[in-house]
């Protein structure tokens, strides 16, 4: 039980990768704050699963790009848990990974970049700012941000999405440098295509097969594959690791 008694905030945890991460923490005894934006029923279902798995869970609705909502979430965590050991910034702006209908560069308005920046960088910024006071009270807190292997290897050019994730990696490295002296580590997990999730539902079988053919480990990531590295970076096993990007794509990117 690596996370017995530890409190972990997972943003966007009502479904997909976030839900898998929440469940994985709970299975290690963690107390998971299941953050969601609108789907309360889904979040409650994840929380119930967490309890079944031997952990504890608290669902908190908050739009992670809203400073007020996130501040209220921090307040709630402070009042109910009294501590915060790790933050997993998983939530992102809605996006469809549809290679057939993706917007090419000349079709991508600046506003689309802006939306993705808000979803990736602003959300992470807002959550980190609000949670910092709680994280500083622990010795050895950790922040894990979900990036993408598309930054290192744009197999398919999702301009707005991948550019925002690239910014998130730069953001994370600077934060790692700043917070290291305060004992807080910051790392990124960069998955390749994860299937099945709502966002990747539109990715055709053919594209997935092509990716699989190029992937040394010969398959596509599942949400549970992402959870393992996230737990590693949130826990004591990575106590001397900060500012890193861990690719979880079966070896598609080697860096």
């Amino acid at each position: 039980m690596r996370f017995q008694g530890r409190v972990i905030l997972v943003t966007g945890a009502s479904r997909g990768i976030g839900a898998a991460i929440a469940r994985a923490f709970a299975a290690e005894g963690g107390i998971v704050v299941v953050n969601y934006r609108t789907n309360e029923a889904a979040a409650e279902a994840v929380a119930a699963e967490c309890r079944t798995l031997g952990g504890e869970a608290l669902t908190v609705a908050a739009d992670v790009t809203s400073a007020e909502a996130v501040a209220a979430m921090a307040q709630r965590i402070a009042e109910e848990a009294g501590r915060l050991d790790a933050v997993v910034n998983n939530a992102f702006a809605p996006y469809r990974f549809d290679p057939d209908r993706r917007a090419r560069f000349w079709e991508t308005p600046w506003e689309a970049y802006g939306r993705q920046f808000d979803g990736a960088v602003k959300a992470t910024y807002t959550v980190c700012q609000a949670m910092l006071p709680l994280l500083r009270r622990r010795s050895g807190a950790s922040i894990v941000n979900l990036a993408s292997d598309l930054v290192a290897r744009p197999s398919i050019a999702y301009h707005d999405y991948a550019t925002a994730k690239a910014a998130l990696i730069g953001f994370s490295r600077n934060l790692a440098a700043e917070l290291g002296p305060l004992g807080i580590r910051v790392n990124c997990v960069a998955p390749g295509l994860v299937y099945p999730t709502d966002a990747s539902a539109a990715t055709p079988e053919e594209v997935r097969e092509t990716l699989i053919a190029q992937t040394p480990l010969r398959r596509i990531a599942t949400p549970a594959d992402v959870a393992g590295p996230v737990l590693f970076l949130a826990g004591e096993g990575s106590g001397f690791v900060t500012g890193q990007v861990l690719h979880v794509d079966g070896g598609l990117v080697m860096a």
Partner: protein
């Protein structure tokens, strides 16, 4: 849970000596949730420790408040002015006494009596008592005065007497009662603070007197000497009691209690010291590493933590300043835990305070 509900649940739990470990745990977590919600300083303490009802699943993880907190903080689930009784410690830190607030004594009394009957009365309904401590009218804020007064009212015969009043020790009265008991042949129980026995022992020694109280007689002492009398080592103390009153050491029972709890611990006599102490089924004791708060293995010496569900209105889990060790059947009480001076040439707290006082 409301106050009425928690009281009802506790009274029911106290009435069930067969309650399982799981039922104790469930009750302990309910009490913790109640205290977390209603006792603001304790809530802050638990939050600071990151041990909240959300996080705590086992009674052992309920955060224990250092006993000194009862001096500085108002640890009460009910508004302090709503307390019918406030018990205060005799010892102070810079003039401040530790306080326990009781909105009702119903649980406190049930806890005291059930346990007292089981551990001291041992099946007897009543016994003639001599009490070496002021009564609860004299000392309304003393938990020990309430304890002894309740013992006398509920378990003493009508001819039981108290021998310490406003004028101090009534030695003549006591000696007369002892002589009468000795002659009468009915068992007699002498109860009081440990230090109250010392002047009696001294007076008897000075007069060269000894009693041989009838078989079945009992002695109950509690609290140690606290600088109120000479300090006696446990063996010397029980040898002296046994010699002076003719009560075998196995019938000399030491009660270990404190203002900051609502239940007491007893041994089964002091034929051998240190004796094994234990509490009733609504109390659990742990021995922890003072630094980390982690449980030590049985037989390892550390600091005692008590979880007393009956202390529902304040805090049930307290970290004492008593050294102890878990042994089969209970725990050993091994004196106070004191900080040590520096091993080097830096000044430590005790010397600094001593200099500041002088």
């Amino acid at each position: 849970m409301t106050q009425a509900e928690i009281i009802e649940a506790l009274l029911a739990f106290i009435a069930r000596p067969d309650a399982s470990e799981a039922e104790f745990e469930a009750m302990a977590l309910q009490v913790f949730a109640y205290q977390f919600r209603n006792n603001e300083p304790y809530r802050r303490f638990a939050l600071q420790r990151g041990r909240t009802p959300l996080a705590v699943r086992r009674w052992r993880d309920i955060p224990a408040v250092p006993i000194t907190a009862f001096k500085g903080l108002t640890l009460s689930c009910c508004p302090p002015e709503a307390a019918s009784h406030v018990f205060m410690t005799s010892g102070t830190t810079q003039g401040v006494r530790g306080r326990s607030y009781h909105p009702t004594l119903a649980v406190w009394q049930r806890s005291m009596l059930d346990n007292f009957r089981a551990r001291f009365m041992r099946g007897r309904a009543r016994i003639r008592m001599g009490i070496l401590f002021p009564d609860d009218r004299e000392l309304p804020n003393s938990s020990l005065a309430h304890y002894l007064s309740l013992a006398r009212r509920a378990c003493g015969t009508p001819d039981s007497q108290g021998f310490i009043g406003a004028d101090g020790l009534d030695l003549d009265g006591l000696l007369a009662a002892l002589a009468q008991a000795e002659a009468g042949g009915e068992p007699y129980a002498l109860l009081g603070a440990s230090y109250s026995f010392v002047p009696v022992l001294d007076a008897l020694a000075a007069q060269g007197r000894r009693f041989a109280l009838p078989e079945g007689s009992l002695i109950l002492d509690t609290g140690g000497f606290k600088g109120q009398s000479r300090e006696l080592a446990p063996d010397a103390f029980y040898d002296a009691l046994s010699a002076a009153f003719g009560v075998p050491r196995a019938s000399c029972i030491n009660m270990y209690g404190m203002t900051e709890l609502s239940s007491q611990f007893y041994d089964d006599g002091n034929a051998v010291c240190p004796s094994v102490k234990s509490g009733p089924h609504w109390v659990r004791s742990r021995v922890v590493d003072p630094l980390t708060g982690a449980d030590l293995r049985d037989g390892e010496r550390g600091v005692l933590v008590h979880h007393d569900l009956a202390h529902f209105n304040c805090v049930s889990a307290i970290l004492t300043e008593d050294a102890g060790e878990i042994v089969p059947g209970g725990f050993l009480l091994l004196g106070r835990v004191d900080g040590e001076a520096s091993k080097g040439c830096s000044v430590a707290v005790a010397e600094f305070l001593a200099a500041a006082r002088s």
